[in-house]
Structures are given as C-alpha cells and as structure tokens.
Symmetry: C2
Subunit: 467 residues, 2 copies
C-alpha cells in the first residue's frame, strides 16, 4: 500500500533527504539551509543557471518502478473527482515538476488540486486501484528534491486546501487544512493574540502540511520545541484512500499509541497530511535582537550557555555565523554590519511578555558577556525595522552565497564542541579548489551527539562555494 | 513477539489504563489523580483497607493466555543471567504483586532485578523462547493496575538500573538508565543548574522509565510540554530480547520515522524501556506561588486565559480545586486556607530567571485579576516554606479524599468550558448516595476537545466519595 506514495513530499524547508537522493560529487546541492525567503527566491532566479533543468532520471541512476501510466480514462476519473482542477497543460506543470533550487525535475503529466480530504481520499483510492504512483506537493519550497516527481508520478497538491477549520482562544489550538501557508496562519493568529510555534524563511510559500511532513525546525525550536510537541493532531490519507483521523486537540492524548508521530517527518511516504491541529503560543509582547561579536567558536558556545542561563525563558533564537558569511553578505547584498569585525557573530533574539523586563535581562546578559570577555562588541535592537535589519544579516546568507558561485550546502549535526572543526578541516583539505567554506546556523536544535552520524539534522550549515 | 509482554508497565503516575481493566460499578478505583507523594502514601496505609488484596483474576473475568509456567529450569536460567537477583521469597514478592492502591494483585512467583540492558535482553530472550509472560515494573506507583501481574507473569523490575549515563552541561541533555528515580535525577541536576522537565507527586518513588512508558504529564506540562518533546531518545528491549537503540541526543532527529514515540505511553506493551535521553531545562532562579479565590468556574477559565497572557513565559503551573476539596483538606489534614472561602480556588506557579521581574509580573496580573473581579481574594508566596504550604492544599487533596471514605476517581478530558458541568451533573444525579463529588486538577494539559471521548487524558479529576 505504502509503495504507491513515492518517497517524497514537499517540504516547507526540508529536513532529511529522501533515501534515493544520490550522494557524492554529483555536482548538485545535496544539503541546504533552512531559511530562505522571498528575497532569496528572487536572488536565485537572477543567478545564472541553466534555463532547462536536467531530468532527475537522466541525472541519476534511478529506475522507474512498474507503476501504471496515466491514461485518458484516469484523467476522466480525476475530472470527476476534482472537476476543473486537473492540470495537464505543460507550462502549468513545469512549476510543479521542477524544485525550487532547480536541480531536480520530474515529467509528471498531471497535477491535481483537491480542496477537501474526501477528494484526496478519492484520488488516492483511484491511484491505488490503478497502480499509479503519486507525489504529494505542498508549497514546493523544499531543498532536497523531495517535493517533485522523479518520473511521471501524479502530483497531488495541497494548494487549495487552505482553510482554517477552527481556532480556540483559550487553549490556543488551531485546526487547519494542510495547504495553509505558514505566514497566512501567522497573520490569522496575530489579531487573536497568538503566534505559530514555528517560523522559517520560506514562510511566505510553505504549507503547514509540508512543515509537518518534513518535521521542519526553523528559527523558534529553541523556544517552542519541535513539531513533535506542538502538533497535537493530524488527519492523514493513506495510500489506499483510507482517512486516518488523528486530529486530537489535546496537549496529551494517552489513548493508545501516538500514531501521528509516524507521519511527522515521514516526508509523505506513509500518507498525505490533509489537516493539522497545532498548539499556538501567545504572541510575544516584546521582541529584542542582539548582534554580538565573538573571538572564537569556543566563545560562541560559552555565550550560548550563559545566554540560556541569564535570559532563560525569554531566549527565542540563537544563531551564529562566521566572519566569511558576514563578508559575503556585505559584499553581495550591500548590508551593513553595525559592529566591529569579529571571527564569529552571534544573533540572539528574546521574546517576552514585558518589554522592560526583557530589556533589563538582555542588558544584564550583555554586561556579563562583555565584562567576561566572551563577547567583544555588540548592538541591540527592539524596534521592528532594526530587528529586521539585524535578522537580514543572518537570513540572507544563503542569498549571498548563491551570488558568490556554485554552492554545496550541508546541514549537519555534530557534537556542538566539534561542530566548527569541520569548516576548518574542509578549508584545509579543499585549499584553493573552494572559493569559500563557511559555517552558520542555529544552535537551538543542536544536541551534544553521543556519536557521529552524518545526515542527522539540518543545522548548522556548512557551505562550500566553488568558483 | 509482542504478545509476550503482558499489557502493562509500571507508571510513575499513570495515564491511560490497560485495556483489560474493567469498567462499571466494580467497587474499585478505575481512574485516579496524578499527584501522590509520600504523605499520601502514608495516609493510604493508615486508612482501613482489607489486609489481603483480592487476586485480580478472582475479582475480574480475565482469562490467562496459554503462556508457560515458570519451572525450576527457568529459575536456574534466570540465576545465570542475574546471579543473586532472582527473588522468589513470597514475602518479598508480595510488594511487587500488589499495586500501590492495593486493588490489583497478581501471583507472580519470580521477580528479576537486572542491572543492565544486556541482562534485560537475556531475560526477555529466555522468556520469549520459553513462552513465559512478562510484566515490566518500575517504581510501582501506578494508579491503574498496570504495574503488577494479573496472573503469574515474570516481573522484571528496573529498580537496580539506576545509573546516570551522561549529562551535558551545554545542551542540558541527560542520559540515564530507566530505573532512575525522578527525584534523584532532580537532585543530581540541581547543583548543575538544571531541572527535570517533569514533576509529579510520586517523584520520590517513580522511575523515569515508567514515566516515559506511561507518558506521565504531571505539574509542569504547561511549561515544558509533554514527554513527546522533551524525551530525545530511548533504548528499548523488545519482547524477543532485541535491543532497539533509539538513544538520540538531538533535539530533532529526522533520520527516518521517529520510532521512539511509539514506546512513549505504550505502557510496556511494545518493549521494556531501559535507558532514556531527556532534554533538561535550566533550573529556575525564582519560584512564586499564588492562591486565588474565584466566584465560578467561568472565572477560573478567564483567570487562566488572563494568566497565560500576562505571565506568559514564566507561568509554570495552573491548578484549580473547588470549595469541597478545600473543606476536606482542612477537615481531614488540618491545613489552613490563607484566603477567604470561595466556590473555586486557583493555584498559580511562576518559574523564571529573575525574581524581581517575576514578582512584578505576578503583581501586575493580580492587580488586573482583582480589579476586574475575576478573582475575589488571593495570597502570594515566594519563600520555599510558604510555597510548599500552598502546594500542599492542592497536592494533598487525594490524601484528604482517601480519609473521607471510599473514593472513585476519574481522570477525564472534556472541552474546558464544559469540564465542571460533570461535577454539577454528578452531584445532582447521585444525590445523597455520594458523600462528596469534587473536581480539581491542572488546566495546562487541557485541549478544547473537538469531540467527546471518555478516557482521553488524566486531568482534571472528578472524585466521588462514598460513605
């Protein structure tokens, strides 16, 4: 049953890559950063890339499994299930066949845009009976090629499943369809005094269903934890069309095994997420951002530790970047670094319920960090414009890199202490064959790793830029 | 394979009851509160209960499945696996055969106390090969009969698996054996500046493995979320002895399906948890507790909403109790209520990194709550002795109830707005046949429930006291 759902599902900023994705020096991005916004999107389009993306099946040694081919009868059946929403026009299909990074391309002949769970169920039941392969697709913002077909799979898009089903003002629990765009949900919650528990650069396009299917982390994991805690329930359609109603609205549901967890991060291999129940935190009253300079990576880690201790419950993000990242952001995007040059930079965000208290706490932390020499220079912003400008230095690194040359990006997970060693090691090994080797990312998702295992999680990012 | 592990596992304060547990007017506790401490334990022992607990197999219409019976050869084999730790003395077995509430009793002939995962694996492999049924047992503090055998199952206790494996001061990640007692872990973390993400009355006896196996919630769910987010990894031994190493130390691990989630809350039906990796939050610098009076349940809910908004990130517990609870606590335990009598009481705890800020926030909240009439009276404590005294009013309700008569306890989950209706309804229906019908519990775990389903989660508690 499961085999019919081809092993991928669009990521709202993806985590693990699908199993089929080839490794090694194949000349494509095999690992990418999490935070890409509309700016990065524009930048990507403007860089010199081949107009025509090579078909994935030509680029990699992949073999089509013995699925059926979509027939005229199938199209007629789809037309009965989703009337007027069966897309076969090649130009319209192009966008759904090619991933955002333009490195993966399928040749699907049909894109379906259901509006309801029932429609998804009917589509999958038909495909199951006809032995047709399916690729679920959300916002198509994924970075590991998981959101587009490899061959001629039927694309089932959640784009029209964009309705909020319910929101409860006391519990902060939002129930919505899988195709809701993350930023639109944030906008829906704002006047109601709540926020989404996750945030990422692709928020303007990514779908909440894709976020869940890829267990997207993003910038707020430090504060609100992973989706495994904040997603309370899911509705999923299995490959044979069975609707699995796991749409609980409880913070804890101990009735039987927590099956929904299997779907979080399963990248669409077990079913299509059609609705999500999310526990939303209250919107913070005050947000502060500090940009600090550190002399070494050891100081970055110590700053993180001090920061967690002094800022405690108001710490909502902790990002680092090295001096090469800062140089590239300045050179290619013309951004200004408001503090003196340092080997490392740290961006700290606080979110709290009392601006005065948060300011005092942050002030106390900075005094301590500067006094002890952990931090060599720093600046703090609390008004929205300045906060955005500081965040841009970190969020636009990917964009700057893409303007610098051909980029290999690796989201790695290593014991925190040894994390930056990899950048140093790579620089030494690659020598002049790499234009730049840089390291950046959030420390919040990081564990200490009792063993080395590649492809663990997606932060931080090591990028190698080639000429 | 799975069938060999009999359907239960000791809870550190259990959630769902095992499927076999009979419902209806059977004269026993079928649902119980979460928070029981040493005091409650003493109280329970002091109440008039039959010395000899009826065998579960005699009390309920349960049927022994065709498992083998432990032979002398089995005992010899166990002796080779865990030398000197094969307990067959009837008096020593008594404690492991009877649950803490003394309502369930098995007749196991052997208790094994392995020290390592390897020993657990060897035991289970042997039982699997010999078709012997097994009951895993932690601290035996569970309230739903899940921790003791029904028939003559082999009891495998984690009591000697009480070693901390590692603790990492930067990430706050603790890795320990399943038999570590919750309170001892808290004591281990305290001087290191960290705390356990869960807390419950049974902390002095319950094992972390049991907490995980039953997905225990407790008093801090509001702040740190459920164990599904804070448990990063597990080591589990399956029924055939296979060791499943899911002991990740990452906040997010997207490599494949998150199988460990199946074991959280599975009550030992899928395997025995032998080690746990937990993400520990920093220990709060300041703790405040407020006890407030509310005129009605609607005001309790509004206070919760206001509280979440004003106290935001420092709110760590929100408990309510009705006036009958308070009366019983005063009458049976001689506790003093420091505020004027009210139909409802609310206990609010804040935990933060700055005592001054937290005090100010709490003061602001109280001013608002009193000013708007949500709250009619209140008191605040910040020194440890007074904090404990206020907590006792809530935590010792169970003890007071057990002194009041024969108690039926139900942990229910309902839409928050309709939650207390059940108490009112029950009072009306039972009339003079119930001595008291009371309602209390935490609101933090509560969802808004899009549908009614009994036996959802374990809060809040409706207790019916019979004469």
């Amino acid at each position: 049953m499961v085999s019919r759902l081809v092993r991928r599902w669009l990521a709202g900023c993806s985590g693990a890559s699908p199993g089929w994705w080839p490794k090694g020096p194949c000349g494509t991005l095999v690992r990418t950063a999490g935070a890409f916004g509309p700016l990065a999107r524009r930048a990507c389009a403007s860089t010199a890339r081949p107009r025509q993306v090579t078909l994935t099946q030509e680029r990699y040694p992949v073999r089509r499994l013995p699925f059926a081919v979509v027939s005229e009868d199938d199209l007629a059946a789809f037309e009965r299930i989703v009337p007027g929403r069966v897309i076969t026009d090649p130009e319209e299909l192009e966008a759904a066949n090619v991933d955002w990074l333009r490195v993966a391309r399928g040749c699907s002949k049909v894109l379906l845009t259901p509006r309801s769970t029932e429609e998804v169920s009917h589509i999958l039941r038909h495909c199951h009976e006809r032995n047709l392969a399916v690729t679920p697709q959300g916002g198509n913002t994924g970075m590991v090629g998981g959101s587009v077909p490899v061959f001629d799979e039927v694309i089932v898009s959640t784009a029209l499943m964009n309705q909020v089903i319910s929101f409860h003002g006391v519990s902060g629990i939002l129930v919505c369809q899988a195709g809701c765009v993350l930023e639109e949900l944030t906008r829906y919650l704002e006047p109601r005094g709540f926020a989404m528990p996750l945030d990422l650069g692709a928020k303007g396009s990514c779908h909440i269903g894709g976020n869940v299917a890829t267990n997207a982390g993003g910038l707020r994991v430090l504060r609100h934890g992973s989706l495994r805690g904040t997603v309370l329930g899911l509705e999923v359609v299995l490959a044979d069309g069975t609707v699995l109603d796991l749409l609980s609205c409880l913070r804890k549901d101990n009735t039987g095994y927590d099956l929904k967890q299997l779907f979080i991060g399963s990248e669409g291999t077990l079913g299509i997420v059609t609705a999500v129940s999310v526990l939303c935190p209250p919107r913070p009253e005050a947000v502060n951002v500090a940009l600090l300079g550190c002399a070494g990576f050891a100081e970055v880690l110590q700053t993180f530790e001090t920061c967690k201790r002094v800022l405690g419950e108001i710490l909502s993000a902790f990002e680092f970047m090295d001096s090469e990242c800062m140089r590239l952001v300045r050179r290619h995007l013309g951004l200004t670094c408001p503090i003196q040059e340092s080997p490392f930079y740290v961006l700290i965000e606080t979110s709290g319920s009392n601006a005065g208290h948060d300011g005092e706490k942050l002030g106390g932390f900075l005094e301590r960090a500067l006094g002890s020499g952990l931090v060599t220079d720093g600046t703090v912003a609390s008004d929205q414009r300045k906060v955005k400008a500081l965040w841009a230095l970190r969020e636009r690194i990917t964009e700057a890199l893409s303007r610098d040359g051909y980029v290999y990006k690796y989201d790695l997970s290593l014991p925190v202490e040894r994390l930056y060693d990899l950048v140093v090691e790579l620089r030494a090994r690659l020598g002049p064959s790499a234009k730049h080797v840089v390291g950046y990312g959030h420390l919040g998702e990081q564990g200490h790793g009792r063993r080395f295992r590649q492809r663990w999680e997606k932060t931080p990012v090591i990028s190698v830029v080639l000429l």
